[in-house]
């Protein structure tokens, strides 16, 4: 045990900064994963979304610290590598493992913590493994970029900062020059949001994992402080890695860097009546509060075709395929805004707004329907609530928002056809 303990102490001292950064990166990833959780929900896709978004920050950090470590090692190592009897590649890969290893270990460390959290709290779903591998390879690529950058620039005071800035600047550049999504996805950062209503498209993830891993190994190979020519076996390995990188990149571009597409697993738990609401199992906590919201909505729409009977949760309530007799409901979160937005989405999807989409529909009619929707959902953030007091519709909204439920329901029943066909005028409103 003593030699092992000594080796570990020695490693800890030599790699103090990468180890510290490992802890920081782990904490950062966990923090961002937790920050991505939505109020009242405990979903693995939210945690994975946070992990994904953290790549924009962890990449530059990993790049900076690896540049620092490699630049300090490069100069003293150059002469010793030239006169070493061990192969140059094995020396460099051993050093890269010691430097990049702790930084890259931050990802599995964070995933482990999240897995323990997910298991103990019963988080819904399970992370998609190729997605995690792609994220891990992003961190590896960022660290390797910094490693090669530091080796090339040498030990200067600005080396690590320059590496971090260069990595981030490349990210900004890749996102801002109007490239197709597939080409943008060749940069090692993932900003896609995972969701329980998705079918995964693993081609891009595998493509990225292969591309970033191959590019990382190529960068480490190229970062030779002794600047030796490649031996034939190393040349073959480089050619193989280059082929892998090109293949991975082509797969990413071909699949347009797309990670997922809308999909409903119909893993529902249903409850209640008038309406009966079926929510994804992960959203079970939303049943009671959503029932309350829809019960109010049902009172206002009772006796009309808008009254909800059977609701099924779906992807943003659009382009979906609910069961016969059911309607879709979109639910973003269990907080008050999320619940009211859910009702509002239902009203706009099944109410008059669909008919208002026709080009040439007079603004006043659109406004009249919007006022009704806002009253039905009790949610006015996106329309009448933002009108200036003297603007057309403001007075009507003020009046409508104060109408008692029974009176409003009676009015809706008599004006249902005008509302649904978007022929309602402001003067028709109660």
């Amino acid at each position: 045990m003593r030699p092992m303990g000594r080796a570990l102490r020695s490693f800890a001292r030599r790699s103090a900064l990468p180890l510290l950064v490992c802890a920081v990166l782990t904490a950062l990833m966990i923090y961002m994963a937790f920050e991505s959780r939505r109020t009242g929900l405990n979903l693995w896709p939210d945690l994975v979304s946070g992990l994904s978004q953290s790549t924009v920050i962890t990449g530059p950090l990993a790049s900076g610290v690896c540049a620092w470590a490699s630049s300090r090692w490069a100069a003293p190592a150059a002469d010793r590598i030239r006169s070493a009897s061990r192969s140059s590649a094995s020396i460099r890969f051993a050093h890269a493992a010691e430097t990049i290893g702790p930084v890259v270990a931050a990802f599995p460390a964070a995933v482990l913590v999240l897995a323990i959290y997910g298991m103990t709290t019963g988080a819904y779903g399970f992370p998609f493994i190729p997605w995690l591998l792609a994220l891990w390879s992003c961190l590896l690529a960022a660290a390797s970029f910094g490693y090669a950058f530091g080796m090339a620039l040498g030990a200067r005071w600005f080396t690590s900062v320059a590496a971090a800035i260069a990595f981030f600047a490349l990210y900004l550049l890749s996102q801002s020059i109007g490239l197709p999504h597939g080409v943008r996805s060749l940069f090692p950062a993932v900003i896609d949001r995972d969701t329980a209503f998705a079918r995964y498209l693993p081609e891009s993830m595998w493509g990225q994992a292969v591309l970033f891993t191959a590019v990382s190994l190529l960068l480490i190979t190229a970062a030779d402080p002794a600047r030796r020519r490649l031996t034939p076996p190393a040349g073959i390995a480089v050619a193989f890695l280059a082929v892998l990188a090109v293949g991975g990149g082509a797969l990413v571009v071909h699949s347009n860097g797309q990670y997922l597409t809308g999909y409903n697993s119909r893993d529902f738990v249903c409850s209640g009546a008038q309406p009966e609401i079926c929510l994804n199992r992960g959203y079970a906590a939303a049943h009671a509060p959503l029932h309350e919201e829809f019960a109010r909505f049902e009172e206002k729409t009772r006796g009309t075709t808008l009254a909800p009977v059977l609701l099924e949760q779906n992807v943003e309530g659009i382009g979906d395929a609910p069961s016969p007799g059911a309607r879709s409901v979109y639910l973003d979160g269990v907080d008050a805004d999320g619940l009211r937005l859910s009702v509002f989405s239902y009203a706009t999807k099944y109410g008059g707004q669909q008919a208002c989409m026709d080009e040439g529909t007079p603004y006043q009619r659109i406004l009249a329907v919007a006022i009704v929707d806002a009253w039905l959902a009790g949610f006015d953030e996106y329309g009448p609530g933002e009108l200036e007091p003297t603007a057309p519709g403001a007075a009507e909204w003020a009046r409508m928002s104060g109408v008692p439920v029974a009176e409003g329901n009676a009015w809706l029943r008599t004006h249902e056809s005008e509302y649904l066909s978007c022929t309602l005028s402001l003067g028709d409103l109660p």
Partner: protein, 250 residues
């Protein structure tokens, strides 16, 4: 015995040595020469035979350049301290020496003992847990010497190892080198004729890619007048040799 046979060495595009023949025997050979004479180029080529453009290098009669295996074996039997020896930041004295032992493909079991032995030789075993960055310049040079000796090499190559050391540090370094060199083939380049007087069993003077003198220190001293501004007989002989060579230039 290490023999260079018809070596051609380049630095960039410039040809520094052309068809150089040289044989080194056990003992300390000091390489003298003015700046740019090619001392470092020669030492680096001997330490890193892949830099040799043409010719052959024989260690005990076997060609070093014959195959990658023979080259690797040669490198494992060589210790080299470059002119600008740089230490690894954050490494302790023993870690530095052990790291070089690892680079020389020593077995994991042997590394620690070998490092301790090398540090004993350079009188640094007491400081083995200190970081190299905290040592004085003279001590750091001795860490470099320990790194050079850690694999018990048959060939020791030292490129101006005493440059920048004060007289006391030089004295300690030379004593350590004398002890460490033992019966190894040691080639040491220097500007300091003191090094020749204290260390050399043999002196080689080079300039313009040519060997101007190859013999015993006493023979070099004998070339000097013993008067003038030169502080020692050896330096006087060395300067006389260079003046003679300068005069013979076309």
């Amino acid at each position: 015995m290490l023999s260079a046979c018809g070596l051609t060495l380049r630095r960039g595009r410039r040809r520094v040595f052309e068809r150089l023949d040289l044989t080194l025997h056990p003992g300390i050979t000091v390489l003298l020469g003015p700046n740019g004479a090619g001392k470092s180029t020669l030492l680096q080529a001997l330490a890193n035979p892949r830099d040799i453009s043409s010719g052959d290098l024989l260690l005990d009669g076997g060609s070093v350049l014959e195959s990658r295996g023979s080259e690797r074996e040669y490198l494992g039997d060589t210790g080299f301290m470059p002119q600008r020896w740089r230490f690894f930041p954050g490494f302790t004295v023993s870690e530095s020496v052990e790291y070089v032992a690892w680079l020389k493909r020593m077995s994991r079991d042997a590394i620690r003992d070998a490092a301790l032995r090398a540090l004993d030789t350079v009188r640094l075993s007491e400081r083995r847990h200190d970081r190299v960055s905290r040592l004085s310049g003279g001590m750091r040079q001795r860490v470099g010497l320990a790194e050079t000796l850690v694999n018990s090499p048959a060939v020791v190559l030292l490129d101006e190892p005493t440059v920048g050391l004060d007289p006391a540090q030089r004295s300690v370094f030379r004593a350590a080198l004398r002890e460490g060199a033992g019966d190894r083939i040691t080639l040491l380049s220097t500007h300091l004729t003191d090094d020749v007087a204290v260390l050399a069993d043999r002196v080689i003077v080079i300039d313009d890619g040519r060997v101007l003198f190859d013999g015993a220190p006493a023979d070099l001293s004998a070339r000097g007048s013993g008067d003038g501004e030169a502080p020692s007989r050896i330096e006087s002989g060395y300067l006389a040799l260079l003046a003679e060579h300068e005069g013979a230039r076309p």
